[in-house]
Amino acid sequence: MKITFMLLDAFTVDGTVRSTFTLAGELARRHEVEIVSVLRDAERPALPLSARVRLRSLVDRRAGGSGRGAPGWPFGGRAARLLDEPSALVPARERCYDRFSAWTDERITRALRRLRADVLVTTRAGLNLLAARHAPRRVLRIGQEHLRLGLNDPGVLAEIERGYSGLDALTTSTAADRRDYLRRLPGGTPVYAIGNGLAGGLYPRSRQDNRVVVAAGRLVRLKGHDLLLEAFTKVVEKHPDWRLRIYGAGPRRDALRSLATRLGLYNNVLLMNATGDLEGEIAKASVLALPSRGEGFGMTIIEAFACGVPVVAFDCPLGPRELVTDGHDGFLVPPEEPAALAEALIRLIDDEELRLRMAANARESASRHGIADIADAWESMLAEVRLARSKGA
């Protein structure tokens, strides 16, 4: 089979890119797999991608690329003009609407119409809607929801209700989100809950010897790092020698650094840059904190498990409660309550024996999320969807 994944931006560091790269790499052991990145602004992706997976892009915004100011590009002037015009095809309230443009409209629809693949997997609402409408019928069109239905704006929800009937199937990361979609989609589009998988290979294993709590994620409000900082002031009151390292990039960076300073955490908190070796950094810590206000899946949870690091997470919608077994491989605490987060962190810091026990359990939990099993689930799903379509046709 030839399988094409379409990402908005394969050159950034986030959970969607990470899990897509892992899945694509695993499927490429048996299939021809390519990733189409709508946007490109770097020579190489920031995250590692299997050499078996082909990567191409539609709008190249590197200097010398096919975007604004590109010398020699036949549509250079037109591209530059259309890049400044808003997208007419993506709903205006799509969470990444600003990154789409009239130029991405043109490039995406052209790429979809000319797509030579058996399966197309699109990875966010805007792309799912475009695939449903513009990809040829001969291609199996699979939409993915990496966040969750409830995060979409009402305007986008209405488009999803109308537009997703053009998809052959939709995948969600959690069983809870699948239930929400089934309620929402009256057209009978099949919905599968298939989580993200952990890449195979050797994971570093925390020795539980550093007094470090780690967190990772884009520095945006949804990820709740502000709540974690508030919680950490309480941790430091009791354990002044414990440190917090937050890995990630994003628009809230300066605000979070100012907050850490205001809270008096300048000796305890570092806002680390995004890293290409997140597992290596997680394994140097003893506890992972996941302070998200919402989490479509929670890739860092299972990455921490693989590194033998217990997780303290807010019991936010939807992912954490399907991944963390409270009291076994981590703690789930009431969402958006820094005091509860602090209490659970302190409990783990105080009790090394508990931490070691949870670390061992975490490694066992990780074994349920291997990418080989996830790829098998994808293949079964694709076979089922193909069969259903051939019966219906």
């Binding site: 050797l202 680390m272 394994a283």
Partner: protein, 258 residues
């Protein structure tokens, strides 16, 4: 996976210790391979084939890849030891030395040694800008224990002179206070901080926390104090691009600190 080492560490005595959860197969040994020169240093495992130890204090600077050799076949030595033990780095730096050896691990799990020449510095562990002073605590790195009088020296850039205050050194630990009024009494300047103890002139820096590039990762609060000639001065510690600790003293804007 018997050949994945579960321990690759360098002790304070510069002994490299590699450990495996199961015996290394017969005929296999470890080879240290110097990137720069191609020099090879073979090391035989211990009798039980569960560990392998060798002194690495005299290795030439640069990167030494750790490999497993079986006959004519070599492959990289894999480990699940994440390295980066903060306590280990602290203990290692507490001894007098002019060369440091640290274990590095690639994202794929390949272990290597990084050998560097080092000069002593004063490792900053905590900075407290408050109550009209800057209190700094940490440890002397690579000097070994020191006793006797110590001084915190703030050296102003562009010939702004120096400000010196007594500091406390106890073994390798130090504690120094810098009253911000002493800086505000001079013209606005950037001040580089040093710890002078016996014959050592050590720059204040934070390098042993496994987080290079402190700029942008944290910020210290500003203190405001009156300048003797009128007006206010802002005083704020900051890290330079080389992770050294300095203090910026500026004239406060009329509408308050920036």
């Amino acid at each position: 996976m018997a050949t994945v080492a579960n321990q690759v560490r360098v002790g304070t005595d510069d002994a490299l210790l590699i450990g495996w959860p199961a015996p290394l197969p017969d005929g296999e040994r470890v080879v240290l391979w110097h990137d720069e020169s191609g020099a090879e240093l073979p090391v035989e495992p211990a009798g039980d084939r569960l560990t392998c130890t060798t002194g690495v204090g005299d290795l030439a600077p640069g990167r030494w890849e750790l490999r497993l050799e079986a006959g004519s076949l070599t492959r990289p030595l894999l480990t699940d030891d994440p390295g980066g033990s903060l306590g280990g780095m602290r203990g290692y730096a507490a001894r007098a030395r002019d060369r440091s050896v640290t274990v590095t691990r690639s994202p794929g799990g390949h272990a290597a040694l990084a050998v560097r020449d080092v000069v002593p510095h004063a490792e900053v562990e905590a900075v407290h800008p408050r109550d009209g002073e800057i209190l700094i605590t940490g440890l002397l790195a690579y000097t070994g224990p020191q006793y006797g009088g110590a001084r915190l020296v703030a050296a102003g850039r562009r010939s702004a002179g120096t400000v010196t205050r007594a500091a406390r050194v106890d073994g390798v630990e130090f504690r120094a206070r810098l009253p911000i009024g002493a800086l505000a009494a001079r013209p606005p300047a950037l001040w580089d901080l040093f710890l002078d103890v016996t014959a050592v002139h050590a720059r204040l820096a934070t390098r042993l926390d496994d987080a290079p590039g402190k700029r942008g990762k944290l910020s210290f609060p500003i203190q405001v104090t009156a300048a003797p000639g009128g007006g206010d001065r802002t005083v704020r510690p900051y890290y330079t691009a080389a992770d050294e600790l300095s203090v910026a003293c500026h004239e406060a804007a009329a509408d308050g600190p920036a």
